[in-house]
C-alpha cells in the first residue's frame, strides 16, 4: 500500500473530458458556425469514449493484480503543503472507483451520443456539450481523487454543472429558479461536508497525523476513537456532517426538494446527472469512508433510517404524479434511499451494486422518457399520452425492460441488487426486520407506480390532440442505439452480482479488498429464498394492481385515491406539502421575524421613546424658565468668547498641506531632540 504503482495514463481518464469541455467551451461558438454541429459532437463524445476505453484498461490492469494489491495511483503534482496539511493532485483507482469510472464514462458516453440526437435543434448546442463534458470531468475527479479536498473540488464542480444545466434554457424563468433552488439547497449540504472534512483533519492532526488522504485516514482512523467534542464522539460527528453533505447531493430527506425541480433541465441531463451519476456521489462518499461509518453505529442508524424514510416517502409521492419526468425523479429519490439503506446497514457492496444497476435502468428510463417527450413535441403530461407502443417500438421495448428491472422482476439487474439490499437489511448485524418490511413495501409501491407510468404512456388510446398524433415518430438512430445498449445493461448488469444461493456474487468479491470480507448472511439459505419470493410477490401485487387500474380499467383509481377522504391522495399529489412547509418556515419564518421586530419597534420601543419624550418635555418646560433667565446669560457669554477665539484660531487651519507638514515635522524633531539630549 505504501508504494503503490504509479500509472501515468489514469490522468487522461479524468483530463480528456476537461479538454473536450475546453475545446467546446472556448471554440464551440465558432466551430458550430464555421464547421457544423458534427465537430462539436466529435469533441464532446470522443474524449468520453476514450476515457471509457482507458477505464476498461484500468479494469484489466487491476484484474491482473492480486486482489489485495488492486490499487493504482497517478500522482500529478503536489497541490498544497501548509503546516501539517499535505495534499497532492493524485488520481487513484481501486475496485470501488473502477466501478464508478466505468459507470460515469460508460453510461455518460452513451448519454453523450444520445444527446447529439436529442439536442440537435438547439441553438446553444456547443454550450450544452461544454457543460456536459465539464460535468463528466468533475464527476471523474470526484470519484478518482485520492483525498477529501480533491473530492470536494469534484463535488462542487458537479454541483456547478448541474446548476448550469438545469437552467440551461435560461430564457424561461422557471428553469433558472429550479437551478437556483438546486444550487442553494446543495450549499446547505456542502456546508456539512466541509465541516466534516475539517473535523476529520483536525481530529487526526491532534494525534499528529493530520491528513485528508483516504488511504491515510483509513490507516489512522483508529486514532480518532475516544476523541470527543461536545460530548459526542468525533467520528460520529464527522460522519454525520459528511452525511448532511450526502443528503444534499443525493437528495435525501430533508434536502430532497431540489431534485424534482431539477427535471426542468434537458432530459439527457436528468438521465446523466440527476439519475445515473451525480446524485449517487453521496452513496459513493459514504462507501468510500466506510471505515469511519462502520466505526460510528449511531451514524449508521441515522443513515439507514433516513434512507428508508426517503425510499418510502418519495415512492408514495411518485404514485400520484402525472408528469412523466417527475415520476422518474421521485423514483430516483426513492432508489437513492434504498442505496443509503444498504449503506446504513453496513452493506456498502450492496449499495454500490444497486448504484450501478440503477444507473443502467434509470438512465434507460429517462432516455426513454426523453424519446417520448421528443416524439410528443415537448409534452410531459402522461394523461395526454397513451398508445405510443405502435409508434415507437424501440422506445417501447427498451422502456419495458427498464421498468421490469426497476420493479425487481426476477433475472433482471434490479432484482438482484434490490434483493441484495433487502436481504442485508434483514440479516446484517445493523439491521432489523422492520427495515425489511418497509423495504418490501417500498418495492411494491415501486412496481405499482412504474407500471402505472408504463401503461399510461404506452397502452390504451392515444389521448394527444390530432396534431401531435400525426407527428408521432420513432427517435433517430443516435437516440435509439444508447437505449438498446442501456436496456441490455439493465438485464445483464445484474448477473455479476448473483445472490449466494445462485452461486455467489462476483461483484461483492471484486469489492472485497475495499470493504473487507463480506459479512456473509447469518440466515439460512432457505430463509433467503423465502424472503426473495415474498418481495417478488409484493412487487407482482403492485404490478397486478397497476394492470387492473390502467390497462384493464377494471379498477377505478379513484377507489384508492378517495380512501381516507382523499386526504392521502392529496398529500401524495402535493408532495407532502414539503415545498410549502419550507416556504412557510424558512422564507416565511424570516419574514415573520422581521415583522415581530417591526411590531416591537412600533409599539414597545416607540411607547418607551414617546413616554420618555413626554416626560422630558415636561421637565424641559420647567427647566425653560430657569434657563431663560439664568443660564442663557452665561451661555451667551461663553459662546461669544469661543467664537472670538475660534475666529483667531481659524487662521491656523490654512488648508495648506505644507503648513501641516511643517508642524508635524517640528513636533517630531522636538521629540527626537528631547530624547537624544535629555532622556538617555
Amino acid at each position: 500500500m505504501d508504494h503503490p504503482i504509479q500509472t501515468d495514463y489514469l490522468r487522461w481518464i479524468v483530463l480528456l473530458p476537461l479538454l473536450g469541455a475546453a475545446a467546446n467551451g472556448l471554440l464551440g461558438a465558432t466551430l458550430q458556425k464555421k464547421i457544423g454541429k458534427w465537430a462539436i459532437s466529435l469533441f464532446a463524445c470522443a474524449p468520453v469514449l476514450i476515457s471509457f476505453l482507458l477505464s476498461l484498461k484500468a479494469l484489466l490492469d487491476l484484474l491482473a493484480l492480486k486482489p489485495e494489491e488492486r490499487f493504482l495511483i497517478d500522482r500529478l503534482y503536489p497541490w498544497l503543503s501548509l503546516g501539517s496539511l499535505h495534499v497532492d493532485v493524485a488520481f487513484w483507482i481501486d475496485p470501488l472507483s473502477t466501478v464508478m469510472i466505468l459507470v460515469v464514462t460508460g453510461i455518460g458516453g452513451l448519454i453523450h451520443v444520445y444527446s447529439t440526437g436529442y439536442m440537435h435543434e438547439d441553438k446553444s448546442y456547443w454550450r450544452y456539450f461544454a457543460f456536459l463534458n465539464l460535468f463528466t470531468f468533475a464527476m471523474l475527479l470526484l470519484v478518482t481523487g485520492d483525498n477529501l479536498l480533491l473530492m470536494f473540488v469534484g463535488w462542487e464542480g458537479v454541483g456547478l454543472c448541474s446548476y448550469a444545466l438545469i437552467g440551461f434554457w435560461y430564457h424561461d424563468h422557471v428553469n433558472t429558479r429550479a437551478g437556483n433552488k438546486a444550487f442553494i439547497v446543495n450549499r446547505v449540504g456542502d456546508f456539512g461536508f466541509v465541516l466534516g472534512i475539517f473535523l476529520i483533519f483536525w481530529s487526526l492532526d491532534q494525534q499528529g497525523h493530520g491528513t485528508v488522504v483516504f488511504r491515510e485516514i483509513e490507516k489512522f482512523a483508529s486514532l480518532m476513537k475516544g476523541q470527543e467534542i461536545w460530548g459526542v464522539g468525533v467520528v460520529t460527528l464527522a460522519t454525520l456532517f459528511l452525511f448532511i453533505g450526502a443528503t444534499g447531493k443525493s437528495a435525501q430527506i430533508p434536502l430532497h426538494v431540489w431534485l424534482p425541480d431539477a427535471m426542468q433541465g434537458p432530459t439527457p441531463v436528468s438521465a446523466l446527472i440527476h439519475a445515473a451519476t451525480m446524485v449517487t456521489a453521496g452513496v459513493y462518499m459514504v462507501s468510500r469512508l466506510h471505515f469511519l461509518y462502520s466505526a460510528a453505529p449511531e451514524t449508521l442508524m441515522v443513515v439507514a433510517v433516513v434512507g428508508m424514510a426517503t425510499a418510502l416517502f418519495s415512492a408514495t409521492i411518485a404514485l400520484a404524479q402525472n408528469d412523466i419526468k417527475r415520476v422518474l425523479a421521485y423514483s430516483t429519490v426513492s432508489q437513492l434511499g434504498y442505496m443509503f439503506l444498504a449503506a446504513g446497514v453496513a452493506a456498502y457492496g450492496a449499495a454500490i451494486f444497486h448504484l450501478m444497476t440503477h444507473a443502467f435502468f434509470k438512465a434507460c428510463l429517462f432516455l426513454g422518457s426523453g424519446s417520448v417527450i421528443h416524439a410528443m413535441g415537448g409534452e410531459q403530461d402522461m394523461r395526454k399520452m397513451g398508445g405510443l407502443r405502435h409508434a415507437m417500438p424501440y422506445t417501447f421495448w427498451t422502456f419495458a425492460i427498464a421498468v421490469l428491472a426497476i420493479a425487481g422482476t426476477p433475472l433482471t439487474a434490479g432484482f438482484f441488487s434490490k434483493d441484495e439490499i433487502l436481504w442485508q437489511a434483514f440479516s446484517s448485524p445493523h439491521s432489523s426486520p422492520l427495515l425489511w418490511v418497509l423495504g418490501v413495501t417500498g418495492a411494491g409501491l415501486t412496481a405499482f407506480y412504474m407500471f402505472r407510468q408504463f401503461f399510461l404512456v404506452f397502452f390504451g388510446e392515444c389521448r394527444a390532440d390530432s396534431h401531435t398524433r400525426a407527428h408521432l415518430h420513432e427517435s433517430p438512430k443516435a437516440m435509439v442505439m444508447p437505449l438498446v445498449l442501456l436496456a441490455i445493461g439493465s438485464i445483464a448488469a445484474g448477473w455479476i452480482g448473483l445472490p449466494s444461493i445462485f452461486g455467489g456474487s462476483r461483484f461483492a468479491e471484486w469489492l472485497e479488498p475495499v470493504f473487507g470480507a463480506h459479512h456473509e448472511a447469518h440466515g439460512p439459505a432457505a430463509l433467503e429464498e423465502i424472503l426473495m419470493v415474498v418481495s417478488v410477490g409484493v412487487a407482482a401485487l403492485g404490478f397486478y394492481l397497476a394492470y387492473l387500474m390502467y390497462y384493464k380499467s377494471r379498477l377505478a383509481p379513484e377507489r384508492f385515491s378517495s380512501l381516507a377522504g382523499g386526504l392521502l391522495y392529496r398529500l401524495f399529489y402535493n408532495k407532502y406539502y414539503i415545498d410549502e412547509i419550507y416556504q412557510f418556515f424558512f422564507v416565511g419564518g424570516t419574514l415573520l421575524l422581521a415583522r415581530i421586530g417591526a411590531w416591537i419597534d412600533r409599539y414597545i420601543i416607540d411607547f418607551i421613546v414617546d413616554g420618555s419624550a413626554k416626560t422630558t418635555a415636561f421637565i424641559s418646560w420647567f427647566n425653560g424658565l430657569f434657563d431663560n433667565h439664568v443660564v442663557d446669560w452665561l451661555v451667551n457669554k461663553i459662546a461669544d468668547t469661543t467664537f472670538e477665539a475660534g475666529d483667531k484660531f481659524r487662521k491656523v487651519q490654512t488648508g495648506n498641506i505644507n503648513g501641516y507638514l511643517y508642524v508635524i515635522l517640528g513636533a517630531v524633531l522636538l521629540a527626537m531632540i528631547v530624547k537624544l539630549r535629555y532622556w538617555s
Binding site: Q653, T654, G655, N656, I657, N658, L661, Y662, L665
Partner: protein
C-alpha cells in the same frame, strides 16, 4: 571598512529625507506622490536591513512586501485622484485644489 547595518540605515535615512523635502516643497500633486514613494522606499530599506542584520529571519521582509503592496494601492488611488482633479480644475497644483476649506 565592511559595509554594515549603519550604512544601509543611512542610505534609507537619506532617501527618506529627500522624499520629505520633495513633499514639503513641491506644489505638483504627482511630484508629491513621487516624494511619498521615496519615503516608503527609505523605510523599506530599513525593514530589510534589520531583517538581514538584526533578527536573522524573514519577517522584516514580509513587512516590506506589505509596504510595497500598500504603495501600489496608494499610487493607483492617488493617481486616479490626480486625474480626477485635473479634469475638474485643469491643473494639478495642490494650491489650486484648496476649495474645500471654504
Amino acid at each position: 571598512m565592511v559595509v554594515g547595518l549603519t550604512h544601509y540605515l543611512v542610505v534609507g535615512a537619506i532617501l527618506f529625507t529627500l522624499g520629505l523635502y520633495s513633499v514639503l516643497t513641491r506644489r505638483n500633486a504627482i511630484s508629491i506622490l513621487m516624494g511619498v514613494e521615496l519615503i516608503l522606499n527609505g523605510a523599506n530599506i530599513n525593514y530589510v536591513a534589520f531583517s538581514h542584520f538584526s533578527s536573522g529571519n524573514v519577517e522584516g521582509q514580509i513587512y516590506a512586501v506589505f509596504v510595497i503592496m500598500l504603495a501600489a494601492a496608494e499610487a493607483a488611488i492617488g493617481l486616479a485622484i490626480v486625474l480626477a482633479i485635473f479634469q475638474i480644475f485643469h491643473t494639478i497644483d495642490v494650491a489650486a485644489a484648496e476649495t474645500l476649506k471654504e
